[in-house]
Structures are given as C-alpha cells and as structure tokens.
C-alpha cells in the first residue's frame, strides 16, 4: 500500500452565517484519500456530510483549511470532480443522451471530434446499461434509470473524483441493490476515486474501502474511520454470511447508535441544524431489520 496523497482534506472548517452569528457546521475535518479509493461518509442527518462533499466539489468554500487534489487547491467546481446528486438533477427537457452530451461537449471541446463524442456518450450509456433509453426524457423513465443516467453523465466527464450524495437514497431496495452492483463494476473497471454519502450501513460496508463515520453536529468532525478489508469483487449474497462482513456492520452500527446517538436524544444539544439536515433519518435503523 503505497501512500500517495491524491486528495487531501486538511483541517476543513466551515461557518455558516446565521442571524445569531456564525454557525460552525464542520470543525477540523482531516482526511487523506488515495487514488481509486472508495470512501463512504456515514453519520446522522445534519452532521455535515453533504457539506464535506460540497466543499470537495467546490460548491462551498471552507472557512478555514482546504482541499488539495493532486497538489492543487480546490477553489471552484470543475468537471474533474463530478457530482451525482441525490435527486438525479437531469435537465427535464433533454433526453438521456442530450443530458450527457451537455457535459461531454463542455469537457471535451476541441479534444474530441463530433463522432468521437457521440461514441463516448453511447459508451457511457452502455456502461450504466441505459442504451435502450437513449432518447427518453427523464419523466419517461423510472427513478433508478434516472439515477443511472445521472451516473453516466458524471462518468462521461472522465472525473478523477466521483462525488455521490446519497445516490441511491430515493430508490427501492431491489433497484438500489442493482445499482450498487453496477457501481462496483464501474469502479472496478475505471478506478475513479469515489466519495459517497450514505445512510445505509450495508451499502457502506459492501462498497467501501474505508468508512468515514462522522460525529453529530454542530461542529461535526470525523469520529472514526473503519477500514474494510474484504476481497473484491464482492458478492452481496456470499458476504451476508461472512463473519468479517457482519463484524464491520456491527462496528458501524455501534458507532451510530451507541457512541453517536440521534440528535435530539442527547437532550437539546443539537437544536441548530446544519443546512443539509432535511429529513428525519430512520432509514439506517430500518435497514438493519430488513437485512
């Protein structure tokens, strides 16, 4: 394991201005990520996971500290750090092909010919198994298919880092499993560095090389980092009975439900919520039962 610092978060701290003065959402987040590593960010709602992702994407600027990718500081968004949004964010008036084309035209202008671009777009559609829906618009395809197109759009930018904000959060369990398998395939083939936010403990253990567990906000930071030493390619059915896999799962669960209780359980401590706190998160709990 050669330590080559590819993506580095150093003492990332962010304050959001509020009426009652600055609200510290993140406090001194430090993380070093190797090339091709798959990182999951897990934590309760409002712990600033999305904020971390947005800072890496360049959509938010850290108040203190910063992010360095390949020796260069991240100061603005860019296609080398592609984002897959939770709600697909496809342009509703464009077909799947045209949605991907928008990015490809921008990134490969002057580098690829028209024919090469078309081939590249079709290749990426094929990668997510969406060739059949090439000319369908987002409102004509299912949620899982939209998310596949969203992933294809991100991949088509040929990003070094793929940032995924709960990409499968809004999907049903079966669709989610299929997309996780697709994502593992793609990651094995392309070797992008991935940072994925999730609420799903199984998803985190199945996909990640490391799981970064975050403490509750305000002033959230990294609580623990769990290395997942499971051989790839991983098969969910085989792993279901694997004692090591189940050990990792219970480690994450213990962190979430013993060391970091749900905000609100530790009375009144976390009344101000970070900007990304939106829905009450019961999903992680439910998934434990269904697993």
């Amino acid at each position: 394991m050669h330590e080559q610092n590819h993506l580095e978060l150093t003492s990332v701290t962010i304050d959001f201005p509020t009426d009652k003065g600055p609200f510290r959402a993140l406090d001194k987040v430090n993380l070093k990520i190797r090339k091709s590593e798959f990182i999951s960010l897990i934590g309760h709602s409002g712990c600033g996971k999305s904020t971390v992702l947005n800072i890496v994407a360049g959509l938010n600027r850290a108040t203190e500290g910063g992010v360095i990718l390949n020796g260069k500081e991240v100061v603005e968004p860019g296609p080398e750090r592609a984002v897959v949004f939770q709600h697909h964010s496809l342009l509703p008036w464009l077909s799947a092909y045209e949605n991907i084309e928008l990015g490809v035209k921008q990134v490969f202008r002057g580098k690829k010919s028209k024919a090469e671009m078309r081939e590249w777009i079709e290749h990426n559609l094929d990668l997510v198994h969406m060739t059949h829906a090439r000319d369908k618009r987002p409102d004509e395809i299912s949620g899982g298919m939209k998310q596949r197109v969203g992933i294809a759009r991100a991949l088509a930018m040929q990003p070094e880092v793929l940032l995924m904000d709960e990409p499968f959060g809004a999907l049903d369990a079966l669709t989610r499993a299929r997309l996780q398998d697709s994502l593992m395939e793609i990651h094995a083939a392309l070797g992008n560095t991935v940072i994925m936010i999730t609420h799903d403990v199984d998803e985190a253990v199945l996909l990640s090389d490391r799981i970064v567990m975050m403490t509750n906000g305000p002033a959230a930071t990294i609580g623990e980092v769990l290395h997942i030493d499971l051989e790839r390619p991983r098969k969910r059915l085989v792993l279901a009975d694997d004692p090591q896999y189940n050990h990792y799962r219970s480690e994450v669960l213990k962190f979430l439900y013993e060391r970091q209780k749900q905000p609100g359980e530790n009375d009144g401590q976390a009344q101000t919520e970070a900007p990304d706190a939106s829905e009450p998160e019961k999903t992680a709990e439910l998934r434990v039962v269904s697993a």
């Binding site: 984002v83 949004f85 964010s89 509703p92 928008l102 921008q106």
Partner: protein, 341 residues
C-alpha cells in the same frame, strides 16, 4: 358416465353465468359511459339552460329608457342582424369595385393613355371589421409588451441587484388602470407621432400602447420568478460543468423558466384584451370598444341587444385567445405534466 354429465351440466351452467356476467358488465359499461357523457356535456348544458332561463326571466323585469332589457332571444336576433349587415356591406363593396373596374375599362377602351384612378372603398365598418381591428390592436400591444417584458424579466430574475432596482418601479406601475394611462398616451402619441402619411391611425397606436403598458407587468414578474427559482441542483450541475454564462442561460435557465413565462404571457394577454375594450372606447379606435360606445351613444331600441352581442363576443374571443396561448404553451413547454387550466 354420471360424472361426465355432471361435468357437462356444470360447464353449461358455468357458460350461462359467464354469459350473464358479461352481459351485466357490458350494460354496466354502457351506463358508465352514459354517466360520463352526462357529466361532461350534460351538466354544462343544463347550467347554460338555467342561465338563459334566468336571464330571459330577470331581464324582462328591468325597464330602461331604451326599453326592456333584452333577453337571449332579442340578442340572438341582433346577432343575426349584425351578420346580415356585414354581408350587405360586403356586397356593396363588391359592387363598388365592379362599377369602378367597368368605368376604368371603358375609359381605357376609349383612350388607352387615360389615367385611371383606383379608389378604396370607404363604407361603414361592420361589427366583424371591428372585431378584426380589435384583434390586430391587442396583438400589436401584446407583442410589443412581450418583447420588452421577457428580456427585462430574465435580467431581473438573474440579477438580485437589477431586481432590487426594478421591483419598486414594477410594483408602482402594476396596479395602474388603463384609463389613467390613456390621456397621457394620447397626448404623447399626438405629440411624437407626427407624419404626413401615417402608417397607423393615432387611435390605433394609442390603444395598442395602452394595452402594452398594462400587459408588461405579469410577464415581467412571472418571468423573473421563473428565472430566479431554477432548481438549485441544476445550477450546481452547470457550475460543476463550468458552463459559460451564455450556455448556462440558454441551456438551463431559459428552458426551466418557460412554464412560468407562459403563465405570465397568458395573464398578460387576458389583461390586454380587457384593457383594449376600455382603451378603444375612449381612444375611438374602430374596434369592439368603439362599437359598444357608439351603440350606447346611439340609444336606439336595439342598442342594448347589440351591446350584449358585443359583450358575449368579447368574452368568447377572450376565451379563444386564452386557449390559443395554452396551445402554444403545450407546444413549447417541456413540462407536459403541468396542469393547464
């Protein structure tokens, strides 16, 4: 053997029940279809019937200086008179041109170098000519307003500074009645639009500009709201892609604000049509508004019925204009799922 017959019987019974069931279902279907038909056509028809009945009963109670307030029958009769007048006028016009042609032909036959004059027909404008004038005027005013309002809406939607700058002005001018604008517009038009051979009549310009002034605001406001409320994720997509300003505007901001833009345009056209009638009355633009005003001044025993014809036609055209905008919206908007009312 015995079991066989039992089975046969059972089968026969089964078929019969099936048959009956199918019959039942089909009559059920028919009655379901019938009830759908009744709700979609019958109810509006019944409401219309009740309305006409109340109208004819109640109108007969009102005695005005121009006679009894006309009921539906009288209005229908006047409608037919207006159609007849229109046809008579067209015949007169055709006859006029025929006479002129003949005269010119004989003139040319006797002297091939003769200068022939072709005079335009200057007969009375009929009700239907006036409808046409009104449509032309409202279209002119509305198109000018849209050409001004959409760019302003886009700019104010995109820039908070421009929005802050424009907002007080918009809010101030929005509630102004067309009747208040009209004298000012009239004076400005007669001062500025001085031409020996005017392309448009002054009354036409005055009415159209008044329509423009009242049509601007809903389009500006709705376009600005549409542009400023583009989904934040879509904006983030464009930031991640580093789309240049123009591409971002054309590919993301404009398409996503089109539904709101059309809402604004529809409101504007509706307001414009209402404003036009008032403007035409006062500016004496030869459209529906002038027709109503002239009939009112005329004060014959048929005037009220003729005004009511105009009122109904105004309503019907307003409805058609709205439907027309709706069809345009369906044609141009990506958001086919939007509820269109």
């Amino acid at each position: 053997m015995r079991t066989d017959t039992m089975a046969d019987k059972y089968q026969a019974f089964n078929f019969r029940t099936l048959d009956r069931l199918l019959n039942f279902l089909s009559t059920e279907n028919i009655s379901a279809n019938a009830s759908k038909l009744i709700t979609s056509i019958g109810i509006p028809l019944a409401a219309l019937g009740v309305f006409l009945m109340l109208w004819s009963v109640l109108a007969a109670q009102v005695q005005t200086s121009l006679g009894v307030l006309p009921g539906p029958a009288k209005v229908w009769e006047q409608m037919m008179t207006l159609v007849d007048e229109h046809q008579a006028e067209r015949e007169k016009e055709a006859a006029f041109f025929e006479r002129q042609e003949k005269r010119n032909a004989t003139k040319l036959a006797s002297n091939p170098d003769a200068q022939v004059k072709i005079r335009p027909y200057t007969g009375q404008a009929t009700f239907f000519d006036q409808i046409w004038t009104s449509l032309l005027t409202v279209a002119t005013g509305f198109i000018i307003a849209s050409l001004i309002a959409i760019p302003i809406g886009i700019l104010t939607g995109m820039s908070q500074t421009l929005y802050t700058a424009f907002n007080p002005i918009i809010q101030l001018f929005k509630p102004i009645s067309p009747l208040a604008w009209l004298p000012i517009v009239t004076m400005v038009v007669s001062a500025v639009y001085v031409s020996k051979d005017p392309m448009f009549a002054k009354s036409f310009l005055t009415s159209a500009i008044t329509v423009t002034l009242c049509c601007l605001w809903p389009t500006i406001i709705n376009t600005a709201v549409g542009v400023s409320s583009v989904d934040k994720d879509l904006i983030n997509v464009s930031r991640v892609l580093r789309l240049p300003w123009l591409t971002r505007t054309v590919k993301i901001i404009l398409p996503s604000s089109i539904p709101m833009m059309f809402t604004g345009l529809r409101l504007s056209l509706g307001i414009g049509w209402m404003v036009l009638i008032a403007a035409e009355m006062l500016a004496q633009n030869p459209g529906l508004g002038k027709f109503v005003w002239d009939e009112f001044q005329n004060g014959s025993s048929n005037s009220l019925a003729r005004i009511m014809v105009a009122v109904l036609v105004i309503g019907f055209i307003g409805f058609l204009l709205d439907r027309g905008m709706l069809m345009l919206q369906r044609r141009f908007s990506w958001d086919k799922s939007a509820v269109l009312r």
